[in-house]
Symmetry: C2
Subunit: 398 residues, 2 copies
Amino acid sequence: MQTERSSAAVPVPIAPPVRLLMGPGPSNVPPSVLEAMAKPVIGHLDPAFLAIMDEVQAMVRQVFRTKNRFALPISGTGSAGMESCFANLLEPGDMAIVGVNGLFGMRMAEVAARYGANVIRVEAPWGMIIPDHVMVEAIRLHRPKVVALVHAETSTGVLQPVEAIARAAAESGALTILDCVTSLGGCPVEIDGWGIDAAYSATQKCLSCPPGLSPVTFSERAIESVRSRKTTVPVWYFDVTLLAQYWGSDRVYHHTAPISMIYALHEALRLALEEGLEVRFQRHRRNHEALIAGLAAMGMELASEEGHRLQMLNAVRVPVGIDEAAVRRRLLSEHGIEIGAGLGPLRGTIWRVGLMGASSSRENVLTFLEAFGSALREQGMAATGDAREAALAEYGRS
Amino acid sequence: MQTERSSAAVPVPIAPPVRLLMGPGPSNVPPSVLEAMAKPVIGHLDPAFLAIMDEVQAMVRQVFRTKNRFALPISGTGSAGMESCFANLLEPGDMAIVGVNGLFGMRMAEVAARYGANVIRVEAPWGMIIPDHVMVEAIRLHRPKVVALVHAETSTGVLQPVEAIARAAAESGALTILDCVTSLGGCPVEIDGWGIDAAYSATQKCLSCPPGLSPVTFSERAIESVRSRKTTVPVWYFDVTLLAQYWGSDRVYHHTAPISMIYALHEALRLALEEGLEVRFQRHRRNHEALIAGLAAMGMELASEEGHRLQMLNAVRVPVGIDEAAVRRRLLSEHGIEIGAGLGPLRGTIWRVGLMGASSSRENVLTFLEAFGSALREQGMAATGDAREAALAEYGRS
């Protein structure tokens, strides 16, 4: 009887529903990535695992377009990658200029401040880019140690121009940190070409791997800056010098690598490179354009600055009189489609519709437009025009 | 042609070998855990995922034997759990007493120091416990804010007695942090019964889940201590106040949870509770006893203090004249068995033979003893006695 009682308290096995993931991430994970993840676990110092690590590092370099020696997945989600950049490159009292035009810029500023940095926020309204000249002037005026920018601001759907700012930072001797969480694998990211010193991403966006790892790269200049610190890196878990000893030829045990997640990332990176980065970017572009053509036909607008829109995340303005949460709930319950809500000041005023990685497909665009139209009509909106036709016309054009 | 050339640079899919994992972790992962991990990814705010999170928290409480509200998996490996305990409970200048009798005690001391604590190391030789009275005297003398201990020292195979020390810490107003990385799910861990304020573990040891998460729990007293900090928690990613807002009823987005790993942990915890913790501990005990009976028949000794030996990790002394690395290599290449090397001062002098979680079975004990004997004979050692018989006799006894 005791056995029965104690097993009654044990939950049944999970049975998660199948969703069409069209929010701000995670995106849908291809079957071969799930299969790779479920391969037998081996030890973190097994020669067979060390070979997989080497291939992962080489592929991380390829997607970041860098020759940096330090290029590896941090054992945590994208935010862990952010922490590792700031924890290693900032010491108390250092000055950091952070571009803030959305939630993830705010988070960078907060993380930098927690490490004791003197943080100067260069702000722009949510939904707009931070103009080059404003950042460049701030850099020339303050001569910071670190300049930090969000490449693809997932909270607003804005793509931040990077090159001129990174150049000004390099000229003034500053290190540039770039948040590539949502951009990597979905649009051009040129770490070496743009002169970026540290960048971090996440696996669950345009790489279509489950969340849990953060690809990170540091330039030699950034590594040199870590070496010449006056104080210890405060977080042992994110100390890049120790991480480099495990991932490099020394193979010194640091922490137990998340084996299965690294299997999954290996397959996700493989799929991205097999498709070809340019082809993949083009696919993201076409699906984005078809989506916004369809949305336009329904009378919907984006909340992000024209000419600077992400092709993997669309901030769609909620029309007056529509209950945005009810639309999301209906999409999820009736159509199995997840889209995202607005964050911070955009809460209730936008939906975030993602077309990331494997989720960025013609089929998903058409499925979404139909379901979205139906959910809006359910809310009393008389949808104008034919979204499907407009999207198909856009596909025909490109 | 370009396609061919670029795809030539893409690695082939991984094909990791099947290993018998009998090192210091990871342990072998049951098929149903791998299957759960490969279920479709859903969003981190999906109602279906929130329900899974609730069940995981309830099961984390059960395996830790605690009623603490804060009990959840940190999104990183065991070392990330260690960081989250020290990052939240220590402020610069705080005093911490750390028991150091192996690598993981050393690491706790280092991590505590990186957060600016004034660290007092109470040391004991590797392979021995830290005597209660030494810790208790240090606590009464120094009145620290934090007392930290490793419950199961994976580098030496020693089980540290905890109760008297935790009681003395509580009496002096200190918070006790306990490293349960290797003990949780393999031998009794009584967070509430022993009065532990913060504890962390890892998934890849006696829970037999892939590495990547760290179950952590904080008592109300520990949470209260975080609330009354004078300084911000330096690491945003590990800030328990923010984590509690996502895992609690507020559901405030913090970072994207590692969905698939949490699926895996759900199933691993389920299996542990379905087996029953007492039955599971008993299984670990019997297999450990059979293993050491077999080893004794071969003339082999353990390097850990008698009466304080881990039942999930055995530090086996390398006999004079035997090349320990050659034995490990042969076990791996000829028999597909992974065991661990010694760390730090024990490098080259011990093997670490794990019997953790699913790896702790009668079949594995017998398979290992046979392969180990063969590898030792290959090294010129004339193995004395019959290890298999001795192990079977031990199974017969219990």
